[in-house]
Symmetry: C2
Subunit: 333 residues, 2 copies
């Protein structure tokens, strides 16, 4: 019997979360029962969608309970197995609690191969992040070579993969990000055709028009808010907007208002569709296969911001809202 560090949700954040919303504590690790695994956390994924689960609002996944551990995508090492499909030394990934050590049933956990790719990639380009980019762009965006794709939050975890897949599929790809360094990196590291720094651009509508001389056919929207309003003025007939997230408004305490999208959609016979990656769960194996192939061919890079230390998980999460990550933010334990 041993103890493990645990991070609980202490209170529901009002607006932007702070460290005071989290509780650092310890809990006893139970003994491993039949069919269970003892797991040591290796990498923890922090993601903007977790903010939604901190509210007491029904959504696609239930809210976190107050005083209970937060959970997210985790890579863990099997320390002890009482399940016949897993052995000591295996690595697994799936949704697990923010605990240094825990006992869990392997339902929903996938065994992963540290030789095929670095372990952290399974939280990034080969994990929910990569699959979100892949299914959103291909299933909703329905890209055709030669079309123009705009990506907001382009230097973020999902956005940077979306842009790379866009290039693989023959699109003109324009990324929107918040610093000159990120914009430069979109072009130098990820092969974007153009980038826009929304923090130094007065007229986003015009900047998007300039970067997209043939208009916008596909918009992969990670942010919502004023940036997405500006894209609306540039959408083409039959364009598709993929609503992946709305990080710009997640911390609003009042219901956010934007330009009415309806007249733009009517005028352009245009589509907007929200999704979460779980909608495509039955296609995960095909998605991972395609992404792993591109990764091994060097067409896709796994860009990460890695923080270290269990105690730094909450701060890494908070930093997402200040755009301090480039690519996928993970915490190495």
């Amino acid at each position: 019997m041993s103890n493990s560090k645990v991070i609980n949700l202490k209170r529901r954040p009002s607006g932007t979360p702070t460290l005071a919303d989290f509780e650092f504590t310890t809990a006893e690790v139970p003994t491993v029962g039949n069919g269970e695994l003892l797991l040591r956390t290796t990498y923890v994924s922090v993601d903007p969608y977790l903010r939604g689960r901190m509210n007491d609002v029904p959504s696609y996944i239930p809210p976190f309970e107050l005083g209970e551990p937060i959970a997210s995508g985790v890579v863990a090492e099997v320390l002890e197995s009482k399940h016949d499909k897993f052995t000591k030394g295996d690595y697994v990934t799936g949704s697990l609690a923010w605990k240094e050590t825990q006992v869990a049933k392997p339902d929903g956990l996938i065994k992963i191969d540290p030789k095929q790719a670095p372990l952290s990639a399974y939280l990034g380009v080969l994990g929910m992040t990569g699959l979100t980019a892949y299914f959103g762009l291909t299933e909703i965006g329905k890209p055709k070579a030669g079309e123009t794709l705009v990506v907001s939050g382009a230097a973020g975890a999902v956005g940077s993969v979306v842009g790379q897949i866009g290039k693989i599929l023959g699109l003109r790809v324009v990324g929107i990000a918040g610093t000159d360094e990120k914009v430069e990196m979109l072009k130098s590291d990820f092969g974007f055709d153009a980038g826009i720094n929304y923090n130094t651009t007065d007229d986003m509508t015009k900047a998007i028009a300039d970067a997209c001389p043939d208009g916008v056919d596909i918009y992969f929207d990670n942010v919502g808010g004023p940036i997405s309003d500006a894209v609306l003025f540039n959408i083409n007939k039959f364009s598709r907007t993929i609503n992946c997230g709305a990080i710009s408004v997640y911390n609003n305490t009042e219901l956010p208002k934007s330009i009415s999208v309806q007249p733009f959609l009517v005028r352009n016979s245009s589509l907007m569709q929200g999704f979460i990656v779980f909608d495509y769960a039955d296609k995960y194996p095909a998605g991972i296969k395609q992404l792993a192939e591109w990764l091994q061919q060097g067409k896709l890079s796994n860009t990460e911001t890695i923080r270290e230390g269990f105690d730094n998980i909450p701060q890494a999460f908070l930093d997402l809202f200040d755009g301090k990550n480039t690519g996928k933010m993970v915490v190495k334990i």
Copy 2:
């Protein structure tokens, strides 16, 4: 050589159009050339989308020219034909100028049968109105029997047909309209399951929730604005919103703002899609066939508000924005 009354666009309306935006004049009717028809206007369709063409803004159809006749859906009698597919006494429908008499090439005109249905029905349930309802609901809404459909502008031309088709396809149908009389008529004449008068309802979000105990699977949106905001709070996972029009904001002189739809779409994996009926032009024959069949079976009614007199066309158009029509507004000449 004779003269014909004509209605031109005199100036581009600012906000809500007024009679002063129209010019009543006369023009010479040219002689009929080879391949042309001399046509006498019998019925004129007035439609909210014409408001958009009065602005000098590029859209799916070009704007009207100042000092030139307005055009809309028209039923006309052939007075003289120099085209081998048409003879004197035929009736045709298509987009024609607001002129009592005109000479036109028959490109885009369809010959119609006054024995199959009343002539005005070809501007309504068998015309663009019916096809708009049919293709929007079936192609974008993808209805499944047992689902719940909400229709805004439900007593209007398109909305009343949408609701009826919804009932034919086995949906629970809830309509939103602006008077108690209209709400009553939705239920008594069109078979809607429930109706909401938005002018006498304080809490639209709650009223929609009450009328849709299983949530909203399909929203056929003719209005945009606050009514559509209220629907958002009630949409189901994988719901579809059909953006057919946004009459509530067409006359706004400032860019209208609404609740940001993006977080709702993400949270519910929900779709919104705009369209115009021309997107489905290759399927018109199949659509008209289906609608005519339902009309003849008595499953679908052609509800009209008929005004009389060429000079009353502009007023009939203006009255659309005050909701003075029930079903399709047409002017009999």
